[in-house]
């Protein structure tokens, strides 16, 4: 597994654990009513399991498994720098959205969430830019 995929997948695994932990706290509250503040975690729970876990895992596995390109006789996974930027922007975006989502009374919440979403959008655009040429028939050149 390439290094970029290791980072994507291990980060996704951490988000899986955290996302399930937040979900369990919310469900515990739903049953027992003992943790009323757990509802504040709902937007973070959704962000973490959908983007942090599911999307990030898909990106990490796609980087690993998509057909490689052949450039100057060498096999390569293409635009690796774009993938590192994608990793950084995606996780920065998720963290900003998660933290901002919990500060419901803050006046900077809306702009912070928008900033986080922009970072996430840039991340997926960069990833798509990297992946586009790798989606090709088996044995086809660049």
């Amino acid at each position: 597994m390439p290094r970029q995929s290791v980072w994507f997948v291990r980060t996704a695994l951490l988000y899986l654990g955290v996302g399930f932990t937040f979900g369990a706290l919310i469900l515990w509250q739903k049953g027992t009513g003992m943790l009323p503040l757990a509802w504040l975690l709902l937007p973070a729970h959704m962000e973490i399991v959908l983007l942090g876990w599911t999307l990030q895992l898909a990106m990490g596995v796609a980087y690993w498994i998509l057909p490689r390109l052949r450039v100057d006789g060498r096999s390569t996974r293409g635009r690796q720098r774009a993938v590192w930027w994608s990793y950084g922007l995606l996780n920065a975006g998720i963290l900003v959205v998660v933290v901002a989502g919990m500060r419901t009374t803050s006046p900077v919440q809306a702009p912070a969430v928008a900033l986080g979403r922009l970072a996430e959008a840039a991340a997926v655009a960069l990833f798509a830019w990297h992946a586009w040429p790798r989606v090709k028939p088996a044995g086809a050149g660049r």
Partner: protein, 139 residues
């Protein structure tokens, strides 16, 4: 395909079918004047789809396709994998049964089954992390 993967994938398919039924029941509830307790099925529907189907499909494929662990870790990973399968399915099944009942009778026994479901699914998440982490590595 490893036995555990087959169990994950077949369970995922069962949950996918269940999601269709639960989603339809939740949508039809107000139209057909079904018991209002079925409204509580909406969050259940999302979780049956996302945990029962999507997450469990991922668990099964990851167990099959990720780089194989070394011999010393393989047995431990297999044990953790079976525990993950058991806890994720037991936790989700408990939620499906308990959530509509708990919505209709807050504070009853069903509420504590919801709490137990939370603990089981929490365990499932971290067990999968523990089973998979050593297999995610560079060559």
């Amino acid at each position: 395909m490893p036995t555990l993967t087959r169990w994950y994938l077949k369970s995922a398919l069962v949950w996918l079918a269940a999601a269709g039924i639960v989603g339809a029941a939740a949508a039809l509830s107000p139209l057909l004047r079904l018991p209002p307790v079925l409204t509580a099925l909406r969050p259940v529907y999302v979780h049956v789809l996302m945990v029962g189907w999507v997450t469990q499909l991922i668990f099964g494929i990851a167990h099959w396709m990720f780089p194989k662990p070394d011999a010393a870790r393989a047995e431990r990973g297999e044990r953790l994998g079976w525990l993950t399968w058991l806890t994720v399915n037991a936790g989700l099944a408990l939620r499906v049964l308990a959530e509509p009942v708990a919505a209709g009778h807050p504070g009853g026994a069903a509420a504590w089954f919801l709490a137990l479901s939370a603990v089981l699914q929490l365990l499932a998440g971290w067990l999968f992390v523990a089973a998979t982490w050593p297999r995610v590595r560079s060559r």
